[in-house]
Structure formats: structure tokens, C-alpha cells
């Protein structure tokens, strides 16, 4: 685990991270996770387990109470405001509460994530069209986001998250409002991004999307990691997410 080897390989490194929200809500306790570049990681756990809180730490929406959060080899607590901006342009986030702008069209909502890094209008248009057709929303391109059904909004959120071709994608409950068919479209899109090199962390409670995959699954419970196969994952083996791993189904 020398710096030289680690730097290009590890995307996310959480070291003994804890997060307390103001009065005394312990959202995360003593979490250590390493995610390699090109990996897909599923984060599961009951409602309130701390999945969203963990993702928030990764994009520095919150700072950890204890421990270190490193993304792409940089300690987030030490980054300047300018560097954080640059970093966020390289992270695509599908928020659990969508954060769409209801009075902008679908196209504008997706474009916004590319505009912040000053992409050309032509590129933006092409990419938007492609994503929408992949997610089955081609006919909604000029509809206001506020007039979409919830499931359509969720897909727009996902499209916005991946639009800028980020190196890291954080998807928070990306299929909560989607039927199984549409869920398939979304997972295909994620897999495509992953093939192109993106690291993906998906927080979800939807068993169907991780049941039959070979990807790693980490389960949180009340802020603690209860199931992880961290040790099994060969940190130095690089971009090869073909580990065999059978998730246990979560309690019924």
C-alpha cells in the first residue's frame, strides 16, 4: 500500500469515519471502507442506517466528526474551495430527493451539470438526447421537470448524475420510484458507465438490483458496518470487478 501504487488504484478511502449530527444523532460510527477505481459498490441497510450520510461525506456536503475521507487520493478536509469545485465536477450524484429544478425543462436540468464545466452546447445537446433515449424519456425532453411523474424525475436525476461522464458516481436509492423494467434500464446505464471506467457507489434497499451481481455489498446498521467483504477485495489487483460475492438477503 505504498503511495505510488495506491494513488491510481484507490478511488475512495474512508478511515475510521464517524458522523454525529448536532444534538446527538450518531449517523455513522467507525466506518472504514476502501473502494478501488472502476469498482461498483452496493451500500445497503435499513432506513436510517446512514447510507445517505456516507455518500454526503464523499462529496463533502458534510464533514466527518472523526476520521478521514479521501477521494482520488486527496484528503477532503484539506482541499481548498476551488479544488472541491473541480472535484465535484468529477462526481456525479443522484440525490435521494432528486434536487431537480421543477420549473426548468428536462433538457435544462440535465444540461446544468455539463454547463458548470463549460461544455459546448452541441456536446450538451447530443449527450442529453442520448441519455434520455437510453432511459426511455425521449418524448419528455422539453417537459418541465415539475410536470413529470416521480419515476420520470428519478430517471432525469440519474441522467444528470452521469451526464458529465464523472469518474465517481454516487447513486442514492436510484430505483426507489421505478418498476423493475425501468430499473433494468438504469442498471444498464450504470454498467455502461462502469465499463468506461467510472467508480460507482449505489445506496439501495432494492434487493433485485444486487441479488445476482458479483459486486461488493456493504451493509450498514445504525451507523455501523455489519457486513463487509473489504478484506477479500484485492486492493492491488486493479480495475477488475469480477469478484464472486453472494449477498445475503436483508431481514424480512
Amino acid at each position: 500500500m505504498q503511495q505510488r501504487i495506491k494513488k491510481p488504484k484507490v478511488m475512495i478511502d474512508l478511515i475510521k469515519v464517524s458522523k454525529m449530527y448536532p444534538p446527538k444523532v450518531e449517523a455513522l460510527a467507525d466506518i472504514s471502507i476502501t473502494v478501488n477505481k472502476g469498482e461498483i459498490l452496493f451500500l445497503t441497510g435499513m432506513s436510517g442506517a446512514g447510507k445517505t450520510s456516507l455518500l454526503r461525506l464523499l462529496c463533502r456536503r458534510e464533514k466527518p466528526t472523526k476520521g478521514f475521507v479521501e477521494v482520488a487520493g486527496e484528503d477532503l478536509s484539506k482541499l481548498s474551495s476551488r479544488k472541491i469545485q473541480k472535484m465535484r465536477q468529477n462526481i456525479g450524484i443522484a440525490h435521494q430527493d432528486f434536487k431537480l429544478l421543477p420549473n426548468r425543462t428536462v433538457a435544462q436540468n440535465i444540461a446544468i451539470s455539463m454547463e458548470v464545466s463549460y461544455k459546448t452546447p452541441v456536446h450538451i445537446r447530443r449527450r442529453t438526447k442520448k441519455l434520455l433515449s437510453q432511459l426511455g424519456l425521449s418524448n419528455k425532453i422539453n417537459t418541465l421537470a415539475g410536470e413529470l411523474s416521480r419515476g420520470e424525475q428519478q430517471r432525469v436525476t440519474i441522467a444528470r448524475a452521469v451526464a458529465n461522464e464523472p469518474e465517481l458516481i454516487l447513486a442514492d436509492e436510484p430505483t426507489g420510484n421505478l418498476d423493475s423494467e425501468t430499473t433494468g434500464l438504469v442498471m444498464d446505464l450504470f454498467n455502461e458507465c462502469n465499463q468506461k471506467g467510472a467508480t460507482i457507489v449505489i445506496a439501495t434497499h432494492d434487493e433485485s438490483i444486487y441479488k445476482n451481481t458479483s459486486h461488493r455489498i456493504i451493509e450498514l446498521s445504525q451507523g455501523y458496518m455489519v457486513k463487509s467483504d473489504d478484506a477479500v477485495w484485492p486492493i492491488l489487483s486493479g480495475i477488475d470487478p469480477s469478484q464472486e460475492e453472494h449477498p445475503e438477503s436483508i431481514g424480512h
Binding site: 474551495s81 465535484r88 429544478l101
Partner: protein, 295 residues
């Protein structure tokens, strides 16, 4: 780099999306500038007008004998040394007699027996009517009293005092209104901008999370604020100009126009007002976005 293009697009979009709020803000700025500049105009014109009321204001210096050319020059010199004056008129006994006769009208025959120089010669001093001079009028009178050959200095003392007080009062009121208005205007505009930006909190937070740079987020607001300040103040001053012309037109028949000289702002002042509003709105809008930068 599509930097400029994106920023301008963003600004235009904001304007289009929130046009009703924008129009309200514009109206607020416009009305505020209108009220404020109206006041400023009143300040300059009413105080002028009030001072014209005091046109009769003069000090009459009675002399013991008719001064010669040289002595007149000396008086002139000494008077001017004390204070700037508008006009100095020497009234000989003869002129005083004629004036008196005229005042008596048909009864002037009764003066026939009198020597033409029975009234003393005098100097009429018309001081410049700045507020300073008005304050110093008593000192001026005292000073004139000390000149050689002066019998008596006369002026409408009570009236001058009253007049001076009135102008003073006007001045206090105008300044007070002015400060109140500036206070209210600044407050209103700041408040309006604050509320408008608060209405777009969600968008700003999102931009922040998407990694937008501070420039990307704030420049459109800055431009928007500047545009609002510019358009608002320009329309405010425009409205004032219309009002001014309408008033002038309405008063055209009356004596008022002949008596008082109304004047609109000079171009530099108009420019100053517009630039100031623009800068204020732009920086207000700019700084209102500050709190959304730390997400």
C-alpha cells in the same frame, strides 16, 4: 471556452424564468430612485425658491453726508472686504427725496416746502443670499455700523430672522427626509433582492453540489443586479423627468414659472445617480449569494 456564453445564457434564463419577481424588483428600484431623486430635486429647487422670497432683503446704511466718488469706492471696498455682496447701491438725498415723493403720490405737493436734501443719503447693501450670509447678517450690520460716517444701519430684523429660520427648517426637513428615504430605499431594495434570491435557494444549492465555481454562480446574480439597478434607476429618473415636465407644463400659465427658476439635474448628477444605483444593486445582489457558497 464557453465561459462567457454560459454565463450570459444563465443570466438570460434567470431573467426569463423569474420575470415576475424581476419586474417587482425593477419596480421597487425604480420607485425608490424616483422618490429619492425627486427629493433631491426638491432640495435644490425649493431652497432656491425660498431664497428668492428674500429678494427684498437689504441693509440700508444711512450716512451723515453725501460720499464723493473716491469715498464711494472706499465704502465699496470695505463692504466687500467683509462679505460677498450681490449689489451695492448709493442713494443720494435727492434720490431718497424723489422716492419719498413718489410714495406719497398725489400728496407730494406737501413736500414742496422741504429742502431736497432733508433726507439723509444712504447705501443699500444687498447681501448674497446664501445661508451663511443670512446667519452673519447681524454681524454684517454691526460691522457696517463701525464704518466712518455711518449714522445708522437698518434692516427688517424680525423678518430676516424669521426668514432665516424658515430656510433652516426647510433644510433640516429636506436632509431628514433624504436620510430617511435613503434608509428605506436601501432597506427595501436589499430586502427585495434577498427575498428573490431566497426564492432560488434550491437552485444555488444544487449548483454548488454540481461543482459550479463561485464565478459561475455569482456572476449572473451580479449582472442581474447591475441590470436591475441600471434599468430601475434609469426608469426612475425618466419618470421624474416626465413628472418635472408635466409640472412645468401645468404651471406654464401661472406666475410661478417666471418667479422661480426650476431646473432639472445636470447630466453628471443623473449619471452619478444611475451609476450609484447600479453599483449598489449589483453588489447587493452579489453579496446576497454569499451564504449559499458554503455548502
Amino acid at each position: 471556452m464557453y465561459f462567457l456564453f454560459t454565463i450570459i445564457k444563465q443570466t438570460t434564463r434567470n431573467f426569463l424564468l423569474t420575470w415576475s419577481s424581476q419586474i417587482f424588483t425593477l419596480l421597487t428600484v425604480g420607485l425608490s430612485v424616483l422618490i429619492f431623486s425627486f427629493f433631491y430635486l426638491v432640495y435644490t429647487n425649493v431652497i432656491d425658491g425660498a431664497q428668492q422670497l428674500g429678494d427684498d432683503l437689504r441693509l440700508t446704511v444711512y450716512l451723515d453726508e453725501q460720499p464723493g466718488k473716491e469715498l464711494q469706492e472706499e465704502y465699496r471696498y470695505k463692504i466687500k472686504k467683509f462679505d460677498r455682496v450681490d449689489k451695492i447701491v448709493f442713494v443720494s438725498s435727492k434720490v431718497a427725496y424723489d422716492r419719498f415723493a413718489e410714495q406719497l403720490g398725489d400728496d407730494k405737493d406737501i413736500l414742496n416746502d422741504m429742502p431736497q436734501d432733508f433726507l439723509p443719503p444712504a447705501i443699500e447693501v444687498y447681501p448674497i443670499k446664501t445661508l451663511d450670509t443670512l446667519v452673519r447678517i447681524k454681524q454684517f450690520s454691526d460691522y457696517l455700523q463701525t464704518l466712518p460716517g455711518v449714522l445708522k444701519v437698518q434692516y427688517g430684523r424680525e423678518w430676516v430672522e424669521r426668514f432665516y429660520s424658515f430656510i433652516q427648517l426647510l433644510r433640516i426637513i429636506v436632509i431628514l427626509s433624504g436620510s430617511l428615504l435613503i434608509l428605506t430605499t436601501t432597506f427595501t431594495v436589499a430586502h427585495t433582492i434577498r427575498l428573490t434570491i431566497l426564492g432560488r435557494k434550491k437552485e444555488l444549492e444544487l449548483l454548488r453540489l454540481l461543482g459550479a465555481s463561485s464565478t459561475y454562480i455569482r456572476l449572473p446574480f451580479f449582472l442581474e443586479g447591475a441590470l436591475q439597478g441600471l434599468l430601475g434607476s434609469a426608469s426612475g429618473i425618466g419618470a421624474l423627468y416626465l413628472l418635472y415636465n408635466w409640472m412645468k407644463l401645468r404651471l406654464a400659465g401661472t406666475t410661478m414659472v417666471n418667479l422661480f427658476s426650476f431646473s432639472f439635474f445636470e447630466p453628471p448628477i443623473i449619471l452619478a445617480i444611475i451609476i450609484l444605483s447600479t453599483v449598489l444593486c449589483a453588489s447587493g445582489s452579489f453579496s446576497s449569494t454569499r451564504k449559499f457558497l458554503h455548502i
